[in-house]
């Protein structure tokens, strides 16, 4: 997504990325980024929360209008209901190491079969 934003911007279109993977977007380097510190999946606001969703749209429009320099990140004021997701997402520990290794093996097998079929 960041690469697409950069391409549009290089060709004269103003862009704003709305998302939650802060390190991925900032590491790439984009002109404008509206960040919500949410689990991945709902960059435009919590499901069914219309006032929050409209507020985030308005902040994205504000950023389009007001940023004067690239790498401008603005964080929305919204918080998720709890912090559990921060540690749970893609967690690797002794309870799931074996399962993950097996999943990887199965995935590589599937990918090899896909390649053969091409």
């Amino acid at each position: 997504m960041s690469l697409v934003a950069r391409h549009l911007e290089e060709n004269g279109l103003a862009t704003v990325i709305v998302g939650s993977a802060r390190d991925v977007v900032e590491e790439c380097g984009v002109p404008r980024f509206l960040f919500s510190d949410f689990p991945l999946g709902n960059p435009c606001g919590k499901p069914w929360d219309v006032p929050m969703q409209q507020a985030i749209m308005n902040m994205a429009l504000d950023l389009l209008e007001s940023a004067w320099t690239p790498r401008t990140t603005v964080q929305t004021p919204f918080c998720w209901d709890n912090d559990d997701w921060r540690d749970n997402f893609m967690r690797v520990d002794d309870t799931n190491r074996e399962v993950l290794a097996k999943e990887g093996e199965a995935r590589r097998k599937f990918q090899a079969e896909m390649k053969k079929g091409q």
Binding site: M1, S2, L3, A5, R6, H7, L8, E9, E10, G12, L13, A14, T15, V16, I17, V18, G19, S20, A21, R22, D23, V24, E27, C28, G29, P31, F35, F38, P39, L40, G41, N42, P43, C44, G45, K46, P47, D49, V50, Q53, I56, M57, N58, L61, L64, E65, T69, P70, W80, D84, F89, M90, V92, A101, E103, G104, R107, R108, F110, M114
Partner: protein, 168 residues
């Protein structure tokens, strides 16, 4: 009252995914794109006179309403009408936090209705006739050489002045 944290609050997906895929037996970590220089294009006209487009990483469902891994691996950018607003997109095989949340409300990841609201309020001149979808491709060269130029072409065809990209 402040909270006490020994680490930064926001999740590093670069760190997290590297450790996760290493645990799955992938030996070579994914190399994320990094640029020192960042382009910047100011709005070419006031927002109230601008046409705004939307880009999503959500996937257009196939006619059966589902998406398979085979389709996902070979998918291309797409453009679809904004009117009537889409009711749902396929996200099942995409990378997001399926334990913490859900994507049953399309407005939580593709803001067609919010953009229409901003147009109705006079804040934005108009919405593009189409929204655009891009695959979150493992291949950076496919994104740069195929998908990004295609999105630009559609934006130009639709007279788009500014773009909001919402990443799942």
């Amino acid at each position: 009252m402040y909270k006490r944290r020994q680490h930064r609050s926001f999740v590093s997906y670069i760190d997290r995914s590297r450790e996760y895929y290493a645990a799955q037996g992938y030996e070579k970590p994914y190399a994320w794109p990094h640029y020192d220089a960042v382009p910047f294009a100011p709005l070419s006209k006031p927002l109230a006179q601008s046409r705004v487009g939307l880009v999503t990483t959500g996937e257009k469902p196939d006619p059966s309403g589902t998406i398979t891994m085979e389709v996902l691996l070979g998918r291309e950018a797409y453009a679809e009408p904004m009117d009537p607003p889409p009711q749902s997109l396929s996200t099942d095989l995409l990378f997001w936090d399926k334990e913490a949340t859900h994507t049953k409300d399309i407005n939580s990841f593709l803001p067609v209705n919010q953009l229409n609201g901003a147009v109705a309020a006079g804040r934005v001149g108009s919405a593009s006739a189409r929204y655009y979808g891009i695959p979150t491709d493992y291949s950076k060269s496919r994104t740069l050489d195929r998908h990004a130029p295609q999105i630009l072409k559609w934006c130009r065809e639709d007279g788009v002045d500014a773009v909001i990209l919402t990443a799942l």
